[in-house]
Chain length 355, copies 2
């Protein structure tokens, strides 16, 4: 079956997998919807995107993705409200950041309409896959990788832009304990840390495994030169609350400009929560934990939304963060998810209806 929606050709899957999915017990990003969006870059330009069945990708063994790591991605979520209307959260910010990543990785930038019309068409075709359950959503993964061939270490001449979707539950279950890293690093000054580049993630896995063996779930990265300042947690930006002030580090060429991060800053300011965007030293956090002024610590990102941190390790010492009854984390998480899921007004214009 073939059709055209929003000028985009649609090749429908022969059958649906949706009846095999237990929407009451969704993991994160492990079950995939029936369709995907595919758009190829060849002969010097992005060709028209298509919706196709979710199906395997075939590549030459010399395709540069296997050798030189030219890949970038985004993470987004679609929500369905009680009237079956479908909502995205600041999708143009994801599109813009995808192109910022593309430029740094020498990947050709994508036209806005291919991204937005392609995404909307895909969501229309797979609308049944968007969960309505509280805490669940359709996780959306746009990505671009080098599909061109050859062993010369230079940018590829062909790329694939694909959007896949996966109905998903929570990224972390329960509270998270983190290790503040003092040896390994995530990114260099003048490097690609600000980009959502595949290579930024692979480099974190081994140090994270070491942290998991010590009883932590995530690593908090510090600057590679002194390890004295907190950067981000890899899959999340980091916020700390000292007394009543919410603090997060400034973005830089080492740190991802998180969309959840900047939304939280804006939300907190609108709610008259004192917010500071400035460098956070590990010393300051350790001292605050010792003298009791460290009230909260949480991660923020699309996948995890807001993920409270229950304690941290640093130099073989463990610090618990006492549980408050009313936290910024839960207050801000409710504010942001209420906006995302159309349960409240959206004074910021962040919500984007798919229709």
């Amino acid at each position: 079956m073939s059709a055209i929606i929003n000028n985009i050709e649609i090749i429908k899957a022969k059958s649906t997998k949706i009846n095999d999915v237990d929407f009451d017990d969704l993991k994160f990003g492990s079950v995939f919807s029936d369709h995907m969006l595919v758009c190829n870059y060849e002969n010097g330009k992005w060709q028209a995107p298509k919706v196709t069945p979710y199906e395997p990708i075939t590549l030459d063994p010399s395709a540069k993705i296997f050798h030189y790591g030219q890949s970038i991605f985004e993470g987004m979520k679609a929500y369905k409200d009680e009237n079956e209307n479908v909502w995205l959260f600041r999708p143009l910010d994801n599109f813009k950041r995808l192109n910022i990543s593309a430029k740094r990785l020498a990947i050709p930038e994508l036209p806005e309409n291919y991204f937005m019309e392609g995404l909307k068409t895909l969501l229309e075709v797979d609308s049944d896959w968007i969960p309505k359950n509280e805490g669940s959503s359709l996780y959306i993964r746009p990505f671009i990788f080098a599909s061109g061939n050859g062993f010369h270490a230079s940018p590829a001449d062909a790329y694939k832009f694909i959007i896949c979707t996966a109905p998903s539950g929570a990224y972390f279950s329960g509270k998270v304990k983190v290790l503040i890293e003092e040896k390994y690093s995530r990114s260099a000054n003048g490097g690609v840390g600000f980009a959502k580049a595949g290579g930024n993630y692979a480099g974190q896995f081994y140090p994270t495994q070491l942290a998991i063996e010590k009883g932590y779930q995530q690593v908090i990265w510090t600057d590679d030169n002194t390890h004295e300042y907190i950067e981000e947690a890899g899959a999340m930006n980091i916020f700390v609350r000292i007394n009543d002030t919410l603090i997060t580090g400034p973005t830089s060429d080492r740190i991802l400009d998180g969309i959840t991060r900047k939304s939280i800053i804006q939300l907190a300011e609108a709610e008259n929560i004192p917010v500071e965007v400035r460098k956070i030293s590990v010393k300051e956090v350790v001292e605050a934990a010792k003298n009791g002024s460290l009230k909260e610590m949480f991660g923020a990102g699309t996948a995890a939304v807001i993920s409270p941190i229950s304690g941290f390790g640093f130099k073989d010492e463990d610090f618990d963060i006492p549980e408050l009854e009313e936290t910024y984390a839960s207050f801000l998480k409710k504010r942001i998810t209420d906006i995302q899921t159309n349960k409240t007004e959206d004074p910021f214009g962040w919500r984007y209806e798919v229709k």
Copy 2:
């Protein structure tokens, strides 16, 4: 057709592509031999390797290689001497480095016999593809990537180890002009710069494109913190000759431990060329260029062997390196390629016959 050599199953290609190849006009890594070695990691272990026809790879769109950059590789060369004997150069060093890279990228380490027996079997099957022409060789590309599925940012549960080969000519044609980088960086302290990880290469493409636009072919990376010290050139380690002393920077967790690099150090020492392995400041190189004591600069790596540098740019200034009649670069290149191609004695035990 199926056969067994060295305990490895061989599935032969139905026909050969070799008659389409002009062995007198070989580019670098763009024509591929008839077969490849394939070895899958699944169910917690590396399965038996097989030689198969060189053929496309099929992956799920959620395969982690597309999203999280878990990939590593090696570069090697096979040479055929006038008696049709086939030689490798220090292949066990490539094997060991592959596993060093694997560990840092949270990829399961590969058994030595799968690598060595697999490689030897592949070379036996595709022996006709090894060029005999001066300056040409069979470029060998062993690589491992994450083939397991899912959007969770964690190590994959399945991997593919593949060896492809490509009859190849020179990597660079002619002399190379380089730009000493003062803004962008290749790697972080505590990062993955010492590993042959795909992501290390993608991050270099954009700054290299900027350098190419300014008339250079390659970037010389400097440390990400001060940009005061020379690191490596991405596809090559860097040597400078000041007066009669050959100098190269020490390896670190930011710099690849190049096999050509360490062979050159040993060769130079054996030939009574004064060699120093120590930090090289950009200032020192600029001053030496100005006062005439900078006699040579060259890159060293498997693909390029030894690649003379004719000049460098730094902070909008250009420095030419005058052409000497007798250079360390050409002397050492002849010494190393004579050993590689079995034209001379090998006092170091580097050469490895494939039989």
